[in-house]
Homo-oligomer: 205 residues x 4
DNA sequence: TATGAATGAGTTTTCATTCAT
DNA sequence: TATGAATGAAAACTCATTCAT
């Protein structure tokens, strides 16, 4: 209404939209934490990447650690979704295939979250809620293995172990996918995912 | 190529020194880096763990980073040894079995080096020599896969991929071994190692 | 001499404003400054205590320091009133008694002002006007002592000294009164006030 | 022995004597805290006053607050000494006189400690030990009043009250003494000290 | 007048590194 | 070679103040 900076009007009033600032901080943090690490992502760096003043970080997060936990939990939630969503799929193999497929889409759309959730060693930095959210994600995969074992699809042995085995290989795929190391029609991801299934399936030769 | 004082750490050439300061620093650094991380391993902490004065660190290493690189390369050398030593083993499967077996002994004897070489994200901290030493180790595993493929034991597809797949699962075993999570006769390690072979072997059904 | 908006705080001129923002800020500041101190009374705290936004503080005061000075002077005026009002009382002793009595009522009605005027060390924070207002208050007490000396009621020696002596003991009473440490009929305040008179009166033994 | 900076040799190796650094920090802190206040005594200011680097503060004290507490307790100890030392003096009046006299010497020799112990409002900054040390000092004075009351020298009423009354007036003397406001032969201090005794003594007119 | 997000200078504190002994 | 006090740059975080709405 009052005439003002035209650019601001055109771009949707960037400068004073609170949502926007928070989002920019989250994006900058995600990028920095996963590329140079948590400790090297200093608050001056973080702020300049987000295009805000250093003090602004603390209007949106109580600490750098809380910022980390916030984005970590959001990322875990993304990966947890297809695990719950696939509860109705009967076959263990199909369900794992579904999960892996959705996860690959996540990795393509948002490469950083893969590293945040599955690669970085955030041991001393995560709070109880974050740890429990991640634990629940792992439990979800383990639960699939338990069903797989009960239907004879998955090998004998601890379900946790086969969850770990499967996860390690799927994360390998996700990392390479996030890194855009494979063109869309490259056979490697499917080869590794098959291999991951072979690694846990009760051999049927 | 040039080894210089690297070897001192490994061979204990400084044994004449009653305090064996360098060795104590190396041990303290290895423990700290792998337990609390590089950044949380401050020089005051490092010195007190090693039982020396802070300044003494700089008599033996030019910087904290060089200390890290020194112990990293020493650790890589430990894991590289069985890869070269097994060159004469003909069967790919037997050779990988040999390597995995020696690596497990290393993990049992010196739990920290597993984390240092295979788990920690030391990206911004390693120098060229360290990076290349680690690269050579990976190349060694890849070379085994190349032979495996030529003899038809290993699946079609990039040798690097099967090296990665095998490595991920073996590291899973090493981590658990280093963490002493399994009693000596627990079936899990053998299950996972079998599974790792199944994941890369040309299907024989 | 010029009073300007000082008086607003005292007389409540802004009553037309339903929120009465200024008054709420003054009250919150008075409470906070005297309970946690000037430095610990941050503007976020101040604003939340007054139930207004942080920026609103600066609609009514040019700075936190000015806010302090404003309430300090208002408080000094309260204590200065009975000093001038009692000018017609002839006996020094009776006049001091009157002042002390009104001051105790102030302390009961508004415990915070005692600490603000007589206890807190606001040295670096008060502006010239505030300092002079406080000086005038002290001068008023000293003037009473001068009269007391001229009538032989007060001891020989500097009038300023006996003003200080009397003031220190009366402030002791005011602090305890403000702190509600004594029930209404407790003998202590009268004992101390008597003692204060004995401390400055020309001994009549 | 080894030839070096002559000045250092002459002045007793200032630069590297650890005791000296701590002492300089203590002195600078005492001066600053009592002149501009705790909050205005920022660590850069503190360090430059002591002639050391900012980081050096933290080799000798764990925090600015601990530094304050350390010097506070040292100061309290100075004032507590004559209270205990005078335990053998029978007459209450003489004992108080002794205490006041030693305290005045302290105020002359080390003007800052008066403000630190008796004037500044350090409420939120003192730790338990400091608070208890100060409490013990007050208890000491109160104990003298208890004896005075039992021998009929001190007025009826709570001993704590007469301790407070006496203390307020003695502190007035100490402040002026510390401020060097009186030449050595000025009558004021003795007048006030007499007045302080009159304020608490059982009237004998 | 009131708001509250944004600012950036300033605070306390840490820590890798140096250097006189 | 070993010490450890001293350093100072840089870290995370705070807060009085501004200003577009």
């Amino acid at each position: 209404m009052t005439h003002q900076n035209d650019d601001a009007a055109a771009t949707g009033k960037r400068a004073r939209n609170p949502r926007n600032t928070r989002e920019r901080l989250v994006r900058a943090a995600l990028e920095l934490f996963t590329s140079v690490g948590y400790h090297a992502s200093t608050t001056p760096l973080l702020a300049s990447r987000a295009g805000v003043a250093e003090g602004t970080i603390y209007r949106h997060f109580t600490s750098k650690e809380q910022l980390l936990n916030e984005i970590f939990r959001a990322a875990v939630r993304m990966f947890a979704a297809p695990v719950s969503d696939s509860a109705n799929i009967g076959s263990c193999r199909e369900r794992l295939g579904h999960i892996a497929s959705v996860w690959r889409e996540i990795a393509r759309a948002n490469p950083h979250v893969v590293k945040l959730v599955f690669v970085l060693d955030l041991d001393g930095l995560l709070d109880t809620r974050s740890r429990s959210a991640y634990g629940t994600l792992l439990d979800g995969i383990e639960a699939v293995m338990v069903i797989g074992k009960s239907t004879g699809q998955v090998r004998a042995g601890s379900a946790r172990i086969w969850a770990d085995v499967w996860l390690r290989l799927v994360v390998l795929v996700l990392e390479r996918t996030a890194g855009a190391e494979w063109p869309p029609d490259h056979p490697a991801p499917q080869q590794i995912l098959s291999s991951a299934w072979d690694a846990i399936s009760a051999a049927t030769l």
